[in-house]
C-alpha cells in the first residue's frame, strides 16, 4: 500500500489514471451500441487503420501524429459503419479486409522508411500499448480529456436518438430521426475513441475495451440504460484496477487492463447464470 501511495505521487501515474478512466468511460458507452449493432469487431479494424495511419505519420516525420491518424480513422469508420451494410462487400468482410490491409501496409511502411533505430520496439509499443499510457505528455492528457468530455456530452444529449438508431433504424427513420446523420456521428466518435484508446491498451487490445464491459453488463442487466450505466461503471473500475496492478506488479498496462476486464466478465457471467440474468 505504501508503494502504491508512493507511485501515485508521480505525475505521470496520475495522468495515466485520469486518461485511463476517461477512455474506459467513452469506450464502454459506445461499446453497448456497437455490440448491439453487431459491430463488435469494428474496434479491431479501426485500430489497425489507426496503426497504418500512424506509420504514415512516422514516415512523414509528423510530430503530432494525431493530425493524420484521427482524420484517416474517421474516414474509414464512416465508410465501414455507414456503407458497410449496403455494399457488395458486407460489414464483417469489409472490416476484416481493411483491418489486415492497414496492418500490413503500416508495418511495411515502417520497415521500409522508418528512421527509428528500434523498429520492433515501436511496432510492439503501438500494437500492445506497452507503457504508452504512462508516458503521456501534458498535451496528450488535455487532448484526451477534451475529446472524452465531447464523447460523453454527445452520449448524454443524444441518448434517445442513439437508442433509436441502435435498436431499429427503420422505425427511427419512420418517426423522422435522421438515421444517416447519427450513424455518421457515431462513426466519428468511434474513431475518436479508438485513437484515444491506442494509448491505453494498444491497437490489438482495443476491441476488449469496447466489448468486455458491455458483454459483462449484459449478463446482469437487460434494459439499455441499465446495461449502459453498468458497462460504464465496470469499465472504469477495470481500467483503474488494471493500471494499479500494472504499476505495482510491473506487468504490461494494456494486457493487465484487458485481463481484469476478462476476469470481471467471467464473474458477471457466473452471477448471471446463478441469478438467471434478472438483477434488473
Amino acid at each position: 500500500m505504501e508503494k502504491l501511495i508512493e507511485y501515485l505521487s508521480y505525475p505521470f501515474v496520475r495522468y495515466a489514471l485520469v486518461v485511463g478512466v476517461l477512455i474506459a468511460l467513452c469506450s464502454s458507452l459506445l461499446g453497448v451500441t456497437l455490440v448491439l449493432k453487431r459491430f463488435s469487431f469494428i474496434g479491431d479494424g479501426l485500430s489497425h487503420v489507426a496503426f497504418g495511419a500512424m506509420s504514415i505519420a512516422a514516415v512523414l516525420g509528423v510530430t503530432n501524429n494525431t493530425l493524420i491518424v484521427l482524420p484517416v480513422t474517421i474516414v474509414c469508420a464512416i465508410l465501414l459503419l455507414k456503407t458497410g451494410q449496403n455494399t457488395k462487400i458486407k460489414g464483417d468482410a469489409a472490416i476484416a479486409m481493411i483491418s489486415v490491409g492497414a496492418l500490413a501496409f503500416g508495418y511495411l511502411l515502417m520497415n521500409l522508411f522508418s528512421a527509428s533505430s528500434n523498429l520492433s520496439g515501436d511496432v510492439c509499443s503501438t500494437l500492445f500499448g506497452s507503457t504508452s499510457i504512462l508516458t503521456l505528455k501534458t498535451e496528450d492528457v488535455w487532448l484526451s480529456a477534451v475529446l472524452a468530455v465531447m464523447v460523453v456530452l454527445f452520449f448524454i444529449f443524444f441518448y434517445h436518438k442513439i437508442f433509436d438508431v441502435t435498436f431499429d433504424e427503420t422505425f427511427a427513420k419512420t418517426v423522422g430521426t435522421k438515421v444517416d446523420m447519427y450513424n455518421v456521428i457515431i462513426a466519428v466518435i468511434v474513431a475518436v475513441v479508438i485513437v484515444l484508446s491506442m494509448n491505453l491498451v494498444g491497437s490489438l487490445l482495443i476491441s476488449a475495451l469496447i466489448i468486455f464491459p458491455a458483454l459483462s453488463a449484459m449478463r446482469l442487466f437487460h434494459s439499455f440504460r441499465s446495461v449502459t450505466v453498468c458497462s460504464a461503471v465496470l469499465s472504469v473500475i477495470c481500467a483503474v484496477v488494471g493500471i494499479l496492478i500494472s504499476i505495482t506488479a510491473g506487468t504490461p498496462v494494456g494486457a493487465t487492463i484487458v485481463a481484469v476486464d476478462a476476469v470481471v466478465f467471467v464473474v458477471c457471467y457466473t452471477v448471471g447464470c446463478i441469478t438467471g440474468g434478472k438483477i434488473v
Binding site: F12, Y15, V18, S125, L134, T135, A145, V152, V229, I247
Partner: protein
C-alpha cells in the same frame, strides 16, 4: 436514467478538473525547484572568496539519491527513464540510481566507447538506457563489468551535446 447520466457528467467534470489541478501542481513544483536551483547558481556565481559566511549558507546538502529507480517496479522504471530522456531538464543535477543491464557502444568513426545501463519495459520488446561515465580514470575493460551483466549504477544526471544532438548521461557514476 437522468440521475445516472447526471452522475456520469459530474464524474467526468470532476476527473477533468482534478487532471488540470494535478498538472498545475506538477508545473508549480517544477518551476519552484527550477527557480531555487537558478537562484542558487546565480548566488554561487556572485560569491566573493572573502564572504565565507555566505558561502557556508549556500553550500549544498550532502549528496543523497534523488531518483532511486531500484525501488520501483519495472513498469514504473521504464516510464520514469522515458520521462528522463524526453524531459531531461527536469532531472539535471539530480542523483540517479538505477539497476539494469550493462551495455557498451562504440563510435566506429573515432573509436570512442560509451557505457550504458539498459532497462526493458514489461513487454520486453522495448528497452531504454542511460549512458554513464565512471568517476576517476576508469579504463575499459579492466574497471567495467562484462557486457550483459546486471549492474546498479549511481551518478549525477546531466546532458551533453555531440554533433548537434543532445544526449543524457550519469556523470561521476559509481558501480555497486
Amino acid at each position: 436514467m437522468r440521475k445516472a447520466i447526471r452522475f456520469l457528467a459530474v464524474l467526468v467534470f470532476v476527473i477533468v478538473l482534478s487532471a488540470c489541478q494535478s498538472e498545475k501542481i506538477a508545473k508549480e513544483d517544477n518551476v519552484t525547484s527550477d527557480e531555487i536551483s537558478t537562484q542558487q547558481e546565480n548566488q554561487v556565481e556572485k560569491q566573493v572568496p572573502e564572504q565565507s559566511e555566505q558561502s557556508e549558507q549556500l553550500e549544498q546538502p550532502e549528496q543523497s539519491t534523488d531518483v532511486d529507480l531500484t525501488t520501483l517496479s519495472s513498469t514504473m522504471v521504464y516510464s520514469e527513464v522515458y520521462n528522463m530522456v524526453m524531459t531531461p531538464e527536469d532531472y539535471i543535477g539530480k542523483t540517479v540510481k538505477m539497476e539494469g543491464t550493462f551495455a557498451v557502444y562504440e563510435n566506429e568513426e573515432n573509436g570512442k566507447k560509451y557505457f550504458a545501463c539498459l532497462i526493458s519495459d514489461a513487454t520486453a520488446c522495448c528497452s531504454q538506457g542511460i549512458e554513464f561515465v565512471l568517476q576517476g580514470d576508469a579504463k575499459y575493460p579492466e574497471d567495467y563489468p562484462k557486457e550483459g551483466d546486471n549492474i546498479t549504477v549511481e551518478g549525477i544526471f546531466g546532458t551533453y551535446d555531440e554533433e548537434g544532438t543532445e544526449y543524457c548521461q550519469l556523470e561521476n557514476a559509481t558501480l555497486e
